[in-house]
């Protein structure tokens, strides 16, 4: 998908993730220098751009756990021609989805009231500043909220896998990861 006359624009973000996938992305090491020859970054922790503009590729780490995640994800879907779920949390919900077995109300109760060592806020209030995004009752993989084009499994996917996937994509091949770089752990 080499677009003549300009570099591809890539945006990345982490939703309900741990930034481990972004760290793994940085693990492509010296390939980063090759990459910046091929692409330029839009919204990403690497650029600190706050909102996503029109892009060729959007890379999402992490699942969807709160209202803000939904807004960010929709912004990416709207502006990116290709959207990639990067890593276990984006693909399946991952570790944060372990709370799906619990009631979110009881979780908040436990964390802000009853947990030993917690000093309750006045009036027994759960923090309610409108700046804070509300939690969804369940954590969802991103493909349950928007349409997703590609999935890269792994916790995290190796730098090698990410590099192979991106270079395939940039070269216009259907990206293909096979053993041993395709792995789910």
């Amino acid at each position: 998908m080499i677009v003549s006359g300009r570099k591809l624009r890539v945006a990345t973000t982490s939703l309900a993730g741990c930034f481990g996938c972004h760290m793994s992305f940085l693990d492509i090491d010296e390939h980063l220098l090759e990459l910046v020859e091929l692409v330029e970054f839009d919204r990403s922790p690497l650029t600190d751009i706050k909102h996503c503009g029109p892009c060729d590729i959007g890379i999402i780490e992490g699942g969807v756990c709160n209202a803000e995640n939904v807004h960010v994800l929709r912004e990416f879907r709207k502006h990116c021609k290709i959207l990639i779920a990067l890593g276990a949390c984006a693909v399946t919900g991952g570790l944060p989805a372990q709370r799906n077995h619990l009631d979110v109300g009881q979780c908040l109760q436990e964390v802000y009231h009853t947990c030993i060592g917690v000093e309750s806020l006045p009036g027994g209030q759960v923090p309610n500043d409108p700046e804070l995004p509300l939690l969804l009752d369940k954590v969802h993989p991103i493909h349950e909220v928007v349409r997703v084009d590609y999935f890269i499994p792994g916790c995290p996917p190796s730098g090698e896998a990410i590099w192979k996937f991106l270079t395939d994509l940039i070269a216009g091949h259907t990206p293909r990861l096979s053993h041993p770089i395709l792995r789910f752990d």
Binding site: G105, Q125, P130, P133, L135, L136, D137, E144, V146
Partner: protein
């Protein structure tokens, strides 16, 4: 608690010794223990494992596989409503709702007093006289609100099943059209005498000349199968009659086993004569448990007449006998290798083929697995000769075919036709008008729209194991397909991931569409899952699981499209509702505390 433990020990001892502590009898042992105790308590699993010298995990694995075996109490009365698409047409879910309400019980749960549980089960083979249910394994047909009310009363008054009105348990044959097979009156032993007059080789040659093909759906040539078994290396050969009639909408084998058992058993003996087998099994689906005693009696009569056992019809060395094994509610056991695994007392997981059962089947022995109807048909060949048999039907499909007709028609039941009969003709004969579609061959078969009704029933045109379900123009074919998809997701044996996960994903997509969250993109995903199921499944179940959806998507696409939102994607759940609990906990109701279900066009 002491007396209970003692009585459990007594039950176990009686069952285990009757079954000779034979590990291949594990499924039968579990089933018989449950028949007496009501469920299989954990100490029973431990004791059975010890007695059979099997790992306990193996025993629990088998007990957990079959949906009619229970490791927890399921109530004194266990009511299972048949939930085939045809039962749905007759309002089974409405009746189930009424019963749950009257008995104060939630579907799928045991009532608090441990008296009763009510749930659904896959097609019970009573589609021509539905809606139907099973109570403690016994079928009750022709349900109405009145009958359901009466049943609730009987359950509440804890009346034993033996004192319920016998009328409830009446199962009709409903034979509507007889042809060569159903018109044959068989003097037990007559077909055998004719075959024995030819000798085994000439008899096998006769079967091959008839071009008889398997009536279970796949249509493999019976004579070729028998010859392969006869020529396979090995001392002991086995004949298995596949009476695990699980394909939704099929009930012809039930009728043959009810009213033509001698045809079936004589057919098995004819197969034994041709192949040299000495051991025979009838694998009877658990839903037909009520046929066990009459079938055992028929076997006993044949033994007494010298038609089974040692030296059949006085010929030294012609030894053959038949044992009946009961299944326990697993559709996949209709697949021949899964059936053999089940016969060996294991989970019904299909084997990898080759080797085919004719080479390595039951306990590694060369094994012929034939459908009930196929075996009954061999009687005709013996009595009237291959030429007469092959003169009926079409070039590639000789003889006649039994069809199990149900759904929207005036006269549901069994129809025997020569192969080649057109769908139009059948619809006219059974009194079906205003027909929108016919599902031929069951859930895994094919869905025919009205422009295809000129086509004929034959292996080379519309093949079928016998199921023929009719849907008139008032019916919603999306819901029919959804019913079948739920069926496959429930019946997937869980062995291979593509099928286990694929059938569940398919079910989720159909449910998403049903609740009005569907988008065009989901239809593309359904097609992708279909490709995955077809390419990667271990057996035919996964292969066929998406058929009902794919076929209706092609032929009845508007039934899907009218459920779609005009979007390229929509989540399967309500995003704003997902924030409700957090809103309640924080007391917030500002704009940022809400989410639109679809992206706002700002």
């Amino acid at each position: 608690m002491e007396p209970i433990a003692n009585s459990l020990d007594a039950v176990l001892e009686a069952v285990l010794s009757k079954r000779r502590r034979d590990p291949t009898q594990l499924l039968q042992i579990l089933r018989e223990v449950q028949e007496q105790v009501g469920y299989i308590p954990p100490p029973a699993l431990t004791a059975i494992a010890a007695a059979l010298k099997l790992p306990r995990a193996r025993v629990e694995g088998v007990a957990g596989f079959y949906s009619f075996l229970h490791l927890q109490p399921v109530g004194k009365y266990r009511v299972l409503f048949s939930d085939n698409a045809t039962d749905r047409l007759l309002g089974n879910l409405d009746l189930l709702g009424t019963m749950c309400q009257k008995l104060w019980v939630e579907q799928g749960k045991v009532s608090e007093d441990g008296l009763v549980s009510v749930d659904v089960t896959s097609c019970t083979g009573m589609c021509d006289q539905g809606p139907a249910l099973l109570v403690n394994g016994r079928p009750i047909t022709r349900l109405t609100h009145q009958r359901v009310n009466e049943i609730c009363e009987l359950i509440r008054s804890r009346r034993p099943l033996s004192l319920w009105p016998q009328e409830y348990f009446r199962v009709e044959d409903n034979i509507r059209r007889k042809d060569d097979l159903l018109n044959t009156v068989l003097e037990p032993g007559a077909a055998l005498a004719a075959a024995m007059a030819l000798g085994p080789e000439a008899w096998l040659g006769e079967v091959q000349k008839s071009s008889l093909r398997g009536r279970g759906g796949a249509g493999f040539t019976t004579g070729v199968k028998w010859e392969a078994c006869r020529n396979a290396p090995g001392e002991e050969r086995v004949i298995v009659c596949n009476a695990d009639e699980g394909e939704p909408g099929t009930f012809k084998d039930r009728v043959l086993l009810t009213s033509y058992p001698d045809h079936v058993f004589e057919g098995m003996t004819l197969a034994a004569y041709a192949t040299g087998a000495r051991q025979g099994f009838l694998y009877l689906r658990g839903e037909y448990r009520y046929l066990l005693e009459p079938l055992e009696a028929a076997l006993q009569r044949r033994r007494e007449a010298g038609l089974l056992g040692q030296g059949i019809r006085g010929q030294a060395g012609f030894d053959f006998d038949i044992e009946i094994h009961l299944g326990a509610g697993a559709y996949v056991c209709g697949e021949e290798t899964a059936l053999i695994e089940s016969l060996e007392g294991k989970r019904g997981t299909p084997r990898i083929r080759p080797p085919f059962p004719v080479i390595k089947g039951y306990l590694g022995r060369p094994t012929v697995v034939n459908n009930v109807e196929t075996l009954a048909k061999t009687v005709l060949i013996a009595l009237e000769g291959a030429e007469r048999f092959a003169a009926v039907g079409t070039a590639q499909s000789t003889g006649t075919k039994l069809l199990s007709i149900s759904g929207d028609c005036a006269f549901p039941g069994i129809y025997e036709y020569p192969f080649g009969v057109s769908i139009e003709q059948i619809l006219e004969d059974c009194g079906a008008t205003d027909v929108q579609a016919v599902q031929v061959g069951g859930a895994s078969g094919t869905c025919l729209a009205s422009y295809e009704f000129h086509r004929g029933i034959a292996y080379e045109d519309v093949p079928t194991a016998g199921s023929f379900m009719i849907f008139d123009t008032s019916r919603d074919l999306f819901e029919v397909a959804r019913n079948f998809v739920h069926f496959f997701a429930h019946e997937s044996c869980g062995f291979c991931t593509p099928c286990r996960v694929g059938t569940s994903l398919l079910q989720n997509f159909m449910d998403k569409l049903a609740t009005g969250h569907g988008a065009k993109y989901d239809l593309a995903d359904i097609e992708w899952i279909n490709r995955l199921l077809k390419a990667a499944s271990h057996c035919g179940l996964g292969l066929a699981a998406a058929n009902p959806v794919v076929e209706t998507l092609i032929k009845f696409r508007p039934a899907y499209e009218r459920r779609l939102q005009s979007l390229d994607f929509a989540p399967a759940f309500d995003l704003d509702q997902s924030l409700a609990e957090a809103r309640r906990m924080t007391g917030r109701d500002d704009a940022d505390a809400h989410l639109s279900s679809v992206e706002a066009h700002r």
